[in-house]
Amino acid sequence: MRMTRVAATAAAAVLALTMAACGSDDDGGTGTGSGTGTGTGDTAATGVIAKAQSGTLKVGVKADQPGLGLQTGTAYEGFDIEMAKIIAKGLGMQESGIQYVTTVSANREPYIQQGTVDLVIATYTINDERKTKVNFAGPYFVAGQDLLVPTDSTITAPEQLDGKKVCSVTGSTPAKRIQENYKGAQLQLFDAYSKCITALAGGQVDAVTTDDIILAGYASQQQFAGKFKVVGKPFSEEPYGIGLAKDDKASCDKINEILKAAAADGSYKAAWDNTLGKSGTPAPELDTSKLTNCA
């Protein structure tokens, strides 16, 4: 080992660390690293609108939820993906400029706060706790937490979960709600719903809980036809929002306008019909009076 070679490797290591520190985001446009929105003076130049003008938009989506956000090979498909396309179009950019980034429930806020993604459209419930960290446009859909059970199950409400095994995903709102409100239930946690579904199919858990719309996506898979049913009594209200940086009010307002337009011109209904609507559920009305005020 010669000196030059040692020096070269050391230099390479230093270089790499520097590169890592700079990240892939070389335009330095995200001044939201501190997390809690500070100052709104420069947002017009740096927010989602500006990103869209530059031609690329990084959108955080789920990769493993059939009907909503599912990675199928090199592409993504689902209702959330269609919403991303509608928003991109409304912002005046090409669909091809959307870069989908796989997110999991636990990393959605950090991804927005740290600028890893510009938008999150990933079955993302609007709630007060999250509002302190990120801003929400929408809601573009109102789901509710429900239970998926085997067809012959006697469970008809969450109150009957006492002593039963119920499965959800680590760090998700449904898991938290079960932990807090239905302490009698035994909670099995995995990192992905597909594992919960496998456990339900195998009888290791008695129910899977998350938003009804996600559950319906699984229940409608032909492989599980006739095996599972959604209980159909939602015990929470989950308004799905579009997450973006806390201080990006301008873009948030703009996205709400785009949603309004989409509801009016039928593109919202088309997005539904092409994805979740395939199982026969009619498209819901998008209640534009409930859109957030992007505070």
Binding site: V6, T9, A63, T116, D191, Q223
Partner: protein, 290 residues
């Protein structure tokens, strides 16, 4: 490997019979166990065609598994280079005679060796961005995490290897007028690296396996793409995991095989002038090995 032949006599007639009986009994037990596992899997419908079919289609390989392997190998290869560099620098640093170098080097190595990689990667991905006000892409979260942990383990391996070189060698080198850095470069490090090759290789296999932890920051490696995403499309998580496990074993075997080949080659060229004892040397390096 002398143990095998030294520990017992060449079997005589009675020993041969006894070995044959043991072989038959144990072999039958293993076969029975395998058959029972097969039956249970069959009973649960795990061999259903629809569950395995995706793996017969080119698209599954093209879209998920091959990109997954690429992601795994890319992260592993990058981290291996950095970990070796890190290990080399910090082993030499820890052996430095200047306390202001050796003490910080020691603290860094000890710390990163003691922190679970899972915590490390998670922190780099979700904590470090708050410090540098920049996102850390999943790829670099994984690579930096792997580098810090495996680099620290390798640093201890190198250090143990350097200390295992007989002191006469460095004394002789000083005697012919070589300076400290020259002794390190030309005498100690090359021998240590060669002597510790088995330890280094097993650590690199560990590194490769640990890329699987990339899924927690949704880095698209074999476990994320080949198991989680495939299962979301086809609902065959058990089958996908079996395929992934076989692929990991193949890749790791290839890595070990390559290392053994390199080891043999260096020996044939007669570079290894003396045999150090890596087992005993590694005794000074707690925390390594897996």
């Amino acid at each position: 490997m002398s143990g095998n032949t030294v520990l017992y006599d060449h079997p005589g007639p009675r020993a041969k019979v006894r070995n044959a009986i043991l072989t038959a009994v144990f072999g039958a037990l293993i076969l029975a166990l395998l058959y029972w596992i097969y039956r249970k899997f069959d009973e649960k419908g795990q061999f259903t065609k629809v569950l395995w079919e995706p793996f017969l289609q080119g698209d599954t390989w093209k879209n998920f598994i091959i990109p997954g392997i690429e992601g795994t190998l890319k992260a592993a290869a990058t981290a291996m280079v950095f970990a070796l560099a890190f290990g080399l620098i910090f082993s030499v640093g820890r052996l430095s005679e200047h306390r202001w170098i050796s003490i910080p080097a020691g603290v860094i190595v000890e710390f990163f060796r003691a922190v679970p990689l899972l915590l490390m990667i998670f922190f780099i991905s979700f904590g470090v961005p708050f410090l540098i006000h920049q996102p850390v892409p999943p790829f670099w979260s994984v690579v930096i995490g792997l580098t810090l942990y495996n680099g620290s383990v390798l640093a201890e391996a190198f250090r143990a290897g350097i200390r295992a070189v007989p002191s006469g060698q460095s004394e002789a080198a000083y005697a012919i007028g070589m300076r400290k850095s020259a002794v390190m470069q030309h005498i100690l490090v090359p021998q240590a690296a060669r002597a510790m090759l088995p330890v280094i290789i097993s650590q690199l296999v560990v590194l490769l396996k640990d890329t699987a932890l990339g899924y927690i920051v949704s880095y698209p490696e074999l476990l994320q793409l080949g198991v989680n995403v495939v299962a979301a499309n086809y609902f065959n998580v058990i089958q996908a995991a079996i395929v992934a496990a076989v692929l990991y074993i193949i890749v790791n075997f290839a890595l070990t095989g390559l290392a053994n080949y390199l080891d043999r080659r260096t020996q044939r060229r007669g570079i290894r002038t003396q045999k150090l004892d890596p087992g005993a040397a590694m005794g000074n390096a707690p925390g390594g090995g897996l």
